[in-house]
Amino acid sequence: MRRDTLRLTALLALALVGCGDTLDPVSLVTRPRVLGFELSVQGDAERTTPRPGETLDLTLPFAFPAEAQGIDFVGVACLGVDVGFGIPFCASEDSVIAPLASRSVAPDVPAVSFTVPADFPADGELLVIAAACAGGVVDPELLASALDITAPPTGGLEVCADGVGTGDLLQSVIPLQRAAEDSNQRPLPLVDVRLGDRPLAPDPGGVPGSPCSGMGLENFVVDGGDVELIVASAAGTFDDFFVLDGDDQPVSRVEAMQHALLITAGEVEANFIFTEREDLVEDTTYTLPTTEDRPPGPEGSLERLWFSIRDERGGLRVESRAYCLVPGA
């Protein structure tokens, strides 16, 4: 254990210090990016934890580097097997609860619904595994090859037919509400987002990189400068919940909000910002693009920031903001 730990530490430290070339930062949207499963129990829209017998709505928000695309979504909801590590999979083909399929047209995103069986096993795990293809359609044969729902995947992961589109394989365990204390509410909308101490307006829509003059957005000069990005959460967004300790005794906890940042241009110092009930406002540094990276036209360039807010208990809310990147004087 000791030597393995040393090995892991050395490799991790090396990777962090960076002895190799760098990759594009995770926050920069260079291809259609899935932002997660937004869950909502029918009849209780802000709740994300269905009880057995309830129907769950599931939508799939995306972030696009340019014009939004239609998305083909195919998957299943099933009873998953218990895994200690690795990618979860369905217990068997008979464990499938419902097939899931949705094909959206931009700017809409896929949306599916399924009902959790009333006799869902008390200790069972509700699992959704699926594929999505942005700008194309999912090839059923490729999907079957890539994703044996009853075993960890081992082969190629391409799912888009004819190689057209951007494919992703997706999975998520859906937390169920078996007791009142299991209930989870979606994160509330952000109270404030400021860039360089200027509030960013809600996203008016539009294509990133397109002219933005006259859209009422905050202007920022394409000078590569650092500005402060501030995120403020609503105080009521943090739910109390319970976990079991090592002796199976319930221990009270409070949610923390994870804000994953995605951007169409520039660079953020932290890809994730965490807020807590005691510390609602957090910040990071946003580095504006340079002319070489993102030359704006004379009418400016629309740039977007996405905030996918997670309570790490299944709740997800996606918000976006925009600003107008303008040439220097």
Binding site: D4, F85, N271
Partner: protein, 885 residues
């Protein structure tokens, strides 16, 4: 016959000034003047000159007085010696008659001869030269004391050649010394019963010492002779491999410093500390040996013959060491200059060693210097160290060593701004050795040594693609071992060794709130061994050891899984993080016996048996082991062996809740055969073949569900090693090591699964290392390593985990591809100045001199669709200065 007129004068002479004494004995003159002419006036050399000529006879004068030598058979004192002569000086100034009137007889002849050879001015009477009879006192002055001899321009090399244990000399051992400088000095002697030898009047400089004795392994050393000083050394020769009580094992590769103890600082592990790329660290020289795999970057792991690092053990004086290298693998935790030798046993090791199925490294330390204060101070860019040795009374000596890293001085400047440095990387280690020989049959040694490594970084939130990787990333390891060893020569045939140790060990590794591992162990270890020579052909060794480990583990993190063969790990975010605390006692007793049969001088058979028990798994193992060695001809030895080896699971693997307490021990069978051959003087080659089969390997359960681990894994390792060693010797001021290993190490984790490569399977391992000692204290060396790239698992993509907002990697076939081949050239140059009582050395050790970017792994982007290599250590020039008193 008429007698010449005689004038009697008494002359006092001075050998220094040749001046005639002015004193004239009136009585003598009066008596001699009767009927004889007076001395001539104005004789040459007379102080009274012409005045005397006008007033009366002038006595003879001395013109040239011959100096007589001091008689050889007479001891010179401080006082002069006078001989009174009566001589007749003719009118021509020649000495005629001469007789001795008084003085020591031994001086008579010399005085007479000297006077007769001297020249005088004749006496004059009224201006005419006349014959004169005078009394002449010839004075011998003692010769000046001899000049003090010049200080000796030579030194002495003296010492003893002893048996491996005790104080018994090896009678008949041959000691050959040859000047390393090529000055042509070569001396040889054969030691007597007491093993003592001495070479006197050796010109100063370095000497290459070769020891040879029947029944023992030869040995070599390099010693420095200082003018006017005696370099005292003690060499201990090992029983020849065919006779070793626990050695002579199949494929035993011994790092070949001279097996000896040192009573003077200058005795050092010359070759071990000269290996390029090691910065003089003897324990890192292990890397050049056949069968030793290349550890990946920064881990300092010991990979022996395709075995997992945890399968091998390092011992210092019989006690396991929890950690051999500081982080980064650049420096070992024990000062090389306190080492005597390193035994590296890659397989088929003795029954003395248990609980391991890989290989063994046994490090032996030496007694501190007992002839005065000695010390070594070394400054390098990586770390700096100091070592002091001194006697305590007549039978004891002590050494104190300390080393501290200097990386912290530059570390902050190489870390990106986004990473805060909470604790700069700092390591240090220390050694205290007290050796005491209360009797000629006992040696007691106390040691306290330990090490500390610590660093901690602060990672901004969300630095990478895994949101859980944030907060503090820290690693701290600390251990300190108190160790006592007692060696007693019970009688001529029986020896007893008792070793006991206690040491706290702590490991703390953490990453934010998602991962924290804290281990604290009170490690007790006890070993007792008796070696008994029953008769000429049978020797019995038996012993017992006990490892007792009360420990506490606090763990927060994802479910445990096997580390080896796991492919790319899941992000922490996607794991179920849990917390576990565990306090337990791990007791592991073992007993062993070893029977050594030697029916002939050429053949040796060792049959051993070991019993081990692990109280945590309540499992036991009985491991028989057999080894044979046969000296076919002089210089050619065949060897072979087979044996069983067992190892308990790691603590965490068998821990309740997080592991499986029902695990069994892991087992392995070792089979090996080979030969060693000395092609020419100082040039040896060897070939070893080996096969290991492993069963009951601990592996993760499928998908990591409870009980998390099982014994379903098996493994197989096979290969061959070729080794060559060219030794430094007369006319050969260089040495070189060559090793090549061809091997394959495979694992199968569960029944029905295909075999896969081991994480550190390295098909080809080639190492060539050499050092050339030039005149005037210069030495140059280089080490070249070419190694197959480590296997790695392709990541074919990622699956998005919506709940945790992270992609999980999808591994392809485990270890089905390899990193590119590794190669690296290390270089070392050293200049040493030897002064009257100390040495100074300046060295430059450059690791990876051509800055090869060796790939150690891959770093992936957020969805595993792109990757970039993680490269190993770049060029590391290490400049150092070392002073030795």
């Amino acid at each position: 016959m008429s007698r010449p007129p005689i004038v009697r004068f008494l002359l006092a002479t001075s050998l220094a000034s040749f001046v005639l004494s002015p004193a004239v004995q009136a009585q003598d003159s009066a008596s001699s003047a009767e009927g004889e002419p007076g001395p001539e006036q104005g004789a040459p050399g007379s102080d009274d000159g012409g005045a005397a000529a006008e007033t009366g006879p002038v006595p003879p004068s001395v013109i040239e007085l011959v100096e007589a030598p001091w008689p050889a058979d007479v001891e010179a004192g401080e006082e002069p010696v006078a001989v009174l002569l009566e001589i007749v000086i003719g009118a021509d100034g020649q000495v005629g008659e001469a007789q001795v009137l008084g003085g020591p007889e031994a001086f008579h002849a010399a005085a007479l001869a000297a006077v007769r050879a001297s020249r005088f001015g004749a006496a004059r009477v009224e201006g005419e030269p006349v014959e004169a009879r005078i009394r002449f006192e010839y004075v011998f002055r003692p010769p000046p004391p001899p000049e003090p001899p010049p200080p000796p321009a030579t030194g002495v090399l003296e010492g003893r050649v002893l048996a491996p244990e005790g104080d018994e000399g090896i009678a008949g051992a041959r000691v050959l010394v040859t000047s390393s400088s090529g000055a042509g000095v070569e001396r040889e002697t054969t030691v007597g019963e007491d093993g003592a030898f001495a070479f006197e009047d050796l010109p100063p400089g370095e000497y290459f010492v070769v020891l040879d004795a029947v029944g023992f392994d030869g040995a070599e050393a390099t010693e420095t002779v200082v003018p006017g000083e005696a370099t005292a050394v003690t060499y201990r020769l090992r029983l020849s491999s065919g006779a070793a009580d626990e050695g002579g094992l199949v494929a035993r590769a011994r790092v070949d410093p001279p097996p000896r103890e040192v009573t003077r600082r200058r005795i050092r592990q010359e070759e071990l500390t000269q290996i390029p790329g090691t910065r003089g660290d003897a324990l890192r020289a292990i890397e050049i040996l056949p069968g030793v795999g290349r550890p990946p970057f920064g881990t300092g792991q010991i990979i022996i013959r395709g075995s997992a690092p945890n399968d091998s053990e390092v011992f210092i004086e019989g006690i396991p060491v929890p950690l051999l290298y500081h982080f980064g693998g650049l420096t070992s935790v024990y000062n090389s200059r306190l080492l005597t030798q390193i035994d590296f046993i890659p397989g088929n090791f003795s029954s003395r060693y248990g609980r391991r199925i890989g290989g063994i490294i046994e490090v032996e330390t030496r007694d501190p210097a007992s002839d005065g204060l000695h010390g070594v101070v070394e400054f390098g860019v990586i770390d700096t160290s100091v070592l002091a040795e001194f006697p305590i009374g007549e039978n004891a000596s002590m050494a104190l060593g300390f080393r501290r890293s200097l990386i912290d001085l530059v570390f902050s400047s190489i870390v990106p701004d986004s990473i805060g440095v909470t604790q700069v990387p700092v390591y240090y280690d220390w050694q205290t050795v007290l050796s005491w020989r209360p009797t000629s049959k006992d040696r007691i040694r106390f040691q306290h040594y330990g090490a500390s490594d610590a660093f901690e970084l602060f990672l901004d939130d969300g630095l990478g693609s895994d949101p859980a990787v944030s907060g503090n990333l820290g690693l701290t390891t600390r251990f300190g071992t108190f160790q006592m060893g007692w060696d007693r020569q019970i009688n001529d045939d029986t020896e007893l060794d008792v070793d006991a140790a206690y040491g706290p060990q702590a490991l703390d590794f953490g990453l934010g709130n998602s991962l924290d591992f804290e281990l604290f162990v009170h490690q007790f270890y006890l070993r007792t061994e008796v070696r008994q020579r029953v008769n000429d052909w049978y020797k019995l060794t038996y012993g017992a050891d006990l490892s007792l480990s009360p420990f506490r583990v606090d763990f927060t993190g994802p479910p445990q899984q096997q580390q080896e063969g796991a492919g790319e790990f899941d992000p922490l975010s996607s794991a179920d993080i849990s917390t576990t605390s565990l306090s337990e006692l791990a007791g592991r007793p073992g007993v062993y016996v070893e029977n050594e049969f030697r029916p002939t001088d050429e053949f040796q058979l060792i049959a051993g048996l070991r019993f081990d028990y692990d109280d945590r798994t309540q499992d036991y193992a009985i491991d028989p082991r057999l080894v044979a060695n046969w000296d076919v001809t002089e210089g050619l030895r065949l060897k072979g062996g087979v044996g069983l080896y067992s190892q308990p699971p790691e603590f965490n693997e068998s821990a309740p809740e997080v592991g499986n307490p029902d695990l069994d021990m892991i087992h392995s069978v070792h089979v090996g055969a080979g030969f060693e051959y000395e092609i020419a003087e100082g040039f040896r080659v060897g070939v070893d073949g080996f096969y290991k089969y492993l069963w009951d390997r601990v592996v993760s359960t499928e998908s990591g569900v409870e009980p998390f681990f099982s014994n379903e894994g098996i493994g197989r390792i096979y290969g061959a090693e070729i080794s060559g060693k060219l030794e430094q010797g007369p006319g050969r001021p260089f040495f070189a090591y060559l090793s090549y290993t061809l091997s394959r190490s495979e694992r199968r984790d569960r029944p029905g699964e295909p075999w896969r490569l081991f994480d550190f399977d390295q098909t080809h391992i080639f190492t060539l290392s050499g050092v050339y000692n030039l005149p005037k204290g210069w030495s140059l060396g280089a080490t070249m390593r070419v190694v197959s790239g480590n296997p790695t698992t392709p990541v074919i993509g990622g699956i998005y985990d919506s709940l945790n907002n992270v992609y999980q990697p999808v591994n392809g076939r485990i270890n089905s591809i390899r990193n590119p081949n590794f190669h690296r050239l290390d270089f070392r140059v050293e200049k040493k100045w030897t002064f009257q009582s100390w040495n100074l050395a300046l060295f430059l050790d450059i690791q990876n001199i051509y800055n090869r970017q060796n790939q150690e792994g891959l770093s992936f982007n957020f969805d595993y669709s792109e990757s970039t290599p993680i490269n190993g250590l770049p060029i590391i020039p290490a400049l150092g200065l070392r002073g030795e008193l």
